[in-house]
């Protein structure tokens, strides 16, 4: 099980949290991971004013998440992790 928290606090919101949330929703649906991933929001991950949106996946915080680097992030920290869990 992977826990994903997308920051929807003011600072990240203005940098496009809504789009990142949508990307996660689409990717989760695409890979049929509804039972393996918990996607939720957070009002602050404590990394405001850096570039882009902050996302916390399990214990690790990733900053500067956007449309361009989303695929890599999702593969490394979500898909691969779940695959490992299944092994």
């Amino acid at each position: 099980m992977v826990f994903i928290q997308v920051c929807v606090g003011s600072s990240c919101h203005l940098k496009g949290s809504a789009e990142v949330v949508e990307l996660f929703q689409k990717a989760i649906a695409e890979h049929h991971l509804e039972d393996d991933v918990v996607l939720s929001g957070s009002f602050c991950i404590g990394k405001c004013n850096l570039t882009g949106v902050s996302v916390q996946i399990d214990e690790q915080v990733h900053v500067g998440v956007n449309r361009d680097n989303f695929r890599d992030l999702f593969k490394t920290y979500v898909l691969d992790v779940i695959e490992n869990e299944r092994k």
Binding site: V8, S10, E22, S40, G41
Partner: protein
């Protein structure tokens, strides 16, 4: 720039500030008795008959700043020794009456309550007078005045009377905690209990988010407040004070707008549930209409619940213009989600108790809600949002709104509703005139405040309610 409308607010603020200062330093217990003397230091009285009375009253203010008498459940309390026992004569002829020949006052009085002495000077027979005020309106010398206590005049639901000592007395059963009397009493003899000590304790013990996170939920009417600084400065100030983050309560308003629109379409008739004073008024004065009250929590409650569900260890402090919110936070249904309520007045005192130089702070951002969530702060905004929410959710339902601006208009609408002659299916009730921007806990009240709220609304990053709420799924 001017921080408050009146000197009474300023006095109340000074007490809050001093109490807060001591509380931050953990020296309240030792020094609490000295607060009155800190505020009135000299031997010359500045407000009342003598310094001792001034300090005695300040002592009472200190008690209320510290949360007030726990035995008394009403948030709104009278400081009996501060009440000046204003005259209550009703309509009276003053010595400005020149004994004219026209006698318009006599002609207009339908009750025949006006007589004249040998000098043609008018007199009002109190046994006949029904206080309609017609005589006062027609007198060419404005010689007829209405002597009514400002508190009683402010309390449109008639919850204020006099006790045996002629001091103001609040009927706690009737009182809806709107705070109109608090703002209107020229002697500051009626005031709201403060929970600044609870807030300070929550913030201190969180140790900057180490032990738990403290969220500030800020009402959208803040856009019309703190005019001497930028909103961004206030946001940073809150974080410096120890809040983990600041969220717009207007996001809760967006959430509420969507579900309230669905509820209205389903039930067919609804009264709004955002204003806690309005909700309490229906329950106490029109119990038969209780079934029409929206089952939605207020924006404060809805958002606080969401925060606590995503972060169960967190603490939530609501900051707004409202004294009735303090009472709402004590309801069993809201208590688990809201840990303390502060007014803007109290927030100003907290900033200054830390000697915070707001303009010097970096400008933070605050953006969670849509235009529609933000305009809840003014009368009519909720109705606009409900109509928009209908559209966004493709609900085919014709809203016939009745926007009630202030508790007097609410009373009229509810009266009609109870007689089935209202001709509307949605009642937006706001106890304060103007909506939340007219709240008793606002620092300033002005004509421009509505425009400020609308401007702030237009600056929202999200233009639709659905978009603003989409991030919460």
């Amino acid at each position: 720039m001017r921080k408050f409308d009146t000197k009474v607010q300023h006095l109340k603020y000074k007490v809050l500030r001093e109490v807060a200062r001591l509380a931050w330093n953990d020296t309240l217990l030792e020094n609490v008795m000295d607060v009155p003397k800190t505020i009135v230091p000299g031997n010359e009285p500045t407000m009342r008959c003598c310094v001792y009375k001034e300090r005695a009253i300040l002592g009472e203010r200190v008690k209320l700043a510290m949360g007030g008498d726990k035995e008394k459940s009403n948030i709104i309390q009278v400081i009996e020794i501060a009440c000046d026992e204003c005259p209550v004569g009703g309509y009276e002829v003053t010595n400005a009456c020149r004994g004219c020949l026209a006698h318009r006052c006599e002609d207009v009085c339908k009750r025949g309550a006006i007589t004249f002495d040998q000098n043609h000077v008018a007199h009002i027979d109190k046994t006949k007078c029904i206080e309609c005020g017609a005589c006062a309106k027609v007198c060419p010398f404005t010689a007829i005045v209405h002597r009514k206590r400002p508190c009683q005049n402010a309390c449109k639901i008639k919850a204020i009377s006099m006790n045996d000592h002629k001091a103001a007395k609040i009927d706690d059963e009737k009182c809806i905690q709107c705070g109109a009397c608090v703002y209107q009493c020229p002697f500051g003899a009626i005031t709201d209990k403060s929970f600044i000590l609870d807030a300070i304790k929550l913030l201190k013990e969180s140790e900057n988010g180490k032990n738990y996170k403290v969220y500030a939920l800020v009402a959208p009417s803040i856009s019309s407040q703190f005019a001497h600084v930028k909103l961004g400065n206030v946001i940073t100030g809150l974080k410096e004070m120890g809040f983990y983050t600041v969220i717009e309560a207007a996001l809760g308003a967006d959430m509420v707008a969507l579900s309230e629109a669905r509820e209205l379409a389903e039930k067919g008739v609804l009264t709004s549930s955002c204003c806690p004073a309005f909700v309490r008024y229906i329950k106490t004065a029109f119990p038969g209409l209780t079934k029409y009250i929206s089952h939605n929590m207020s924006p404060m409650g809805a958002l606080a619940k969401y925060v606590k569900e995503t972060d169960p260890d967190s603490k939530v402090i609501f900051i707004g213009p409202c004294t009735a919110k303090k009472a709402e936070a004590q309801l069993e249904s809201v208590k688990p989600y809201v840990d303390a309520v502060l007014t803007f007045e109290e927030l100003q005192a907290l900033f200054d108790s830390l000697d915070m130089d707001l303009p010097a702070l970096e400008e933070g951002v605050l953006d969670n809600a849509s235009y529609f969530g933000r305009i809840f702060a003014r009368s009519g905004g909720l109705t606009d949002a409900a109509a928009q929410a209908m559209k966004e959710q493709n609900i085919n339902f014709e809203i016939k709104p009745m926007v009630c601006d202030g508790i007097e208009e609410c009373r009229v609408a509810l009266l009609k509703m109870s007689k089935n002659v209202l001709g509307a299916n949605f009642v937006e009730g706001m106890a304060c005139v103007g909506g939340c921007i007219g709240g008793a806990g606002c620092l300033t009240h002005g004509e421009k405040n509505k425009a400020e709220v609308d401007k702030y609304g237009r600056e929202a990053y999200e233009k639709t309610i659905t978009d603003a709420v989409s991030v919460l799924k």
